[in-house]
């Protein structure tokens, strides 16, 4: 507050702006803490053996249970499966989404909002609802309980994310760059690799990240389609959760959250290096 004999409206406007900025900062802090606080609690549980209510801080620290869990063959198998499924799903979904998103982003047509909404359904329709049907269908097709079946099932909720992310990229995309490159003598292949892909690289990275994380995160579909034979990290985690060992739960949760963190940090780092392209 500024002390002034006659506070002008300009001063008041500035104070108002300052308040609005502060309010935004608090809001963003709240959003982050909603995500950070639980993580801190997890770390505390993963590296301690004893922490009972009403202690505010754990008494003992140890890394032994963490190493034990990490070298467990079951954990390793789950990790491998998760990486494999998420990787293949990411690659497939980008290949499918790229041409669809290009059409949706660049062309204007009646009912485009409707198409986008319908395309988004698989991402928000509960997997439990569709998963059961998919399960029965896949069993009849002989895809139940196999990695390809799980990959196919994951594509259903993943594709909307990649299509949406890339549609947003192409909505701001100006195909004039490609036409310019063509008239300068560039072949279609050169245009794709030297113009289009560099232009959409940041958006492509974000789309890949989303695809990877949505697949990495899948529990219900993996369980239903995998039929208990495809064990990924979240499937393992859930079985451990029903076991009730808080330390194991915390360790696997952290492990599960670690790779997304790394992927997100790498993407974020790459994004800040480069200025926003397109437009």
């Amino acid at each position: 507050m500024q002390i002034q004999s006659q506070p002008s409206s300009r001063v008041r406007a500035r104070v108002r702006v300052a308040y609005a900025r502060r309010a935004r900062q608090v809001l963003i802090a709240l959003l982050f803490s909603a995500w950070l606080l639980p993580s801190i609690v997890l770390v505390l549980h993963a590296f301690t053996t004893r922490w009972f209510y009403p202690q505010l801080w754990p008494a003992e620290w140890t890394g032994a249970p963490f190493m034990r869990q990490l070298t467990n063959p079951q954990t390793r198998q789950a990790l491998t499966n998760s990486l494999l499924v998420a990787g293949v799903v990411t690659a497939r979904s980008l290949l499918i989404a790229l041409p669809a998103a290009r059409t949706l982003g660049l062309r204007q047509f009646r009912g485009k909002e409707l198409v986008l909404l319908l395309l988004g359904l698989p991402a928000i329709i509960p997997p439990i609802a569709t998963g059961m049907g998919m399960n029965i269908l896949f069993l009849r097709l002989g895809l139940g309980g196999s990695l390809p079946g799980v990959v196919l099932a994951h594509l259903v909720p993943v594709l909307p994310y990649t299509v949406f992310a890339l549609t947003a990229v192409f909505a701001r995309y100006d195909s004039g760059y490609e036409q310019q490159a063509a008239t300068l003598g560039a072949s279609p292949l050169r245009v794709l690799f030297r113009v289009t892909l560099p232009l959409i690289a940041p958006g492509l990275a974000v789309a890949a990240l989303f695809a990877f994380l949505v697949s990495w995160n899948q529990y219900v579909l993996t369980l239903l389609i995998g039929g208990g034979r495809v064990i990924t990290l979240p499937v393992l985690l859930f079985s451990v959760i029903s076991g009730g060992n808080v330390t194991s739960i915390a360790i696997l949760s952290l492990l599960f959250a670690a790779l997304p963190m790394v992927a997100i940090s790498l993407t974020a780092g790459a994004l800040t290096d480069q200025s926003p392209v397109t437009g």
Binding site: D174, G176, Y177, Q179, Q180, A181, A182, T183, L184, G185, A186, S187, P188, R190, V195, P198, L199, A201, Q274, S275, V277
Partner: protein
Amino acid sequence: MTQIEINQLHKCYPRQTMPAVNRITLNIPSGTLLALLGPSGSGKSTILKLIAGIDQPDAGSIHFDGQDMARVAANRRGAVLMFQKAYLFPFLSVADNIAFGLKIKRMPRTQMMDAVRHMLDLVELPGIEGKRPAQLSGGEQQRVALARALVTRPHVLLLDEPFSSLDPAVRQTLQEAVRRIQRELGITMLLVTHDRSEALSMADQVALLDQGRLLACNAPRQLFQRPPTRRAARLMGVSTFLSGTLDGNRLHTRLGALTVDALPNGCQRTIVAIRPEHLRLLPMPGPNALPAHVAERTFRGEHVEYRLCVGEETIRVRTYEGDNGDLSGSVFVQFPVEHLFAVEDDEPEQQA
């Protein structure tokens, strides 16, 4: 070095009732500059895209030196299009942007760098090779785009309003530079513009377009002084048209009889036009002059515009400073015989 012939070129975009380009035939001799002049939506840019090959015509043909371009992809036509927007690749330096076309031709690196440096000198931006496009102003970006378009020494250069976003001073400098380079290298050039003065000053031939149709194509001075149709004349800034019946060299109009000269024969309905700066205001009656009333007098800087009421019609007269004193009230407007010319009627009659 390349002659361009387009024949009955036609293009209609989906869900458009009007064709964007309506059966246009043009011949651009090798090494000349043709300006495509017209209001927005007249199909100018579409013609460039069709010639460049980044859009396909519905009908008609495009020939470069007699070779049909229908099956030749955009990147094999040797025609560089420079858009209104600079389209510098944001992830490349200025030098790499300019060298984009040279890399495709696999030019050796040292030779490439020399060419880039030479082009940057030409567009008066020496030493900015290492900068990123985002660091340049709009005018600088446009000049780099011009350098990129010229560095491969294309046989055909297509320019889509390249100067419209520039300030007048920079615009004039670049207009002169482009014209000089075009002549030096003998490039066949098409320039799309909606700026009449730019088209008239830069082109060997001006093609006047309106709503996808070719109204006229002629040398600048001929087109400006004797536009063939009423619509073409309007686009050239003519606003006074008098229709009447011809009786010898007297035209009988609703406003009165005027002496005209060397008009197409016949006593049918004839329309004559006159440029606003060719009308003369007299304080007293004179030869070929009609009585008029000054409705409004507007100072516009280089010239003064009079809005006159002649009978029930409005006539606009442009006078240059010092030509007249400040006239008002009742005057006489003179139609000098040598400046009256006949136009074809290609517009639906708006008033009798």
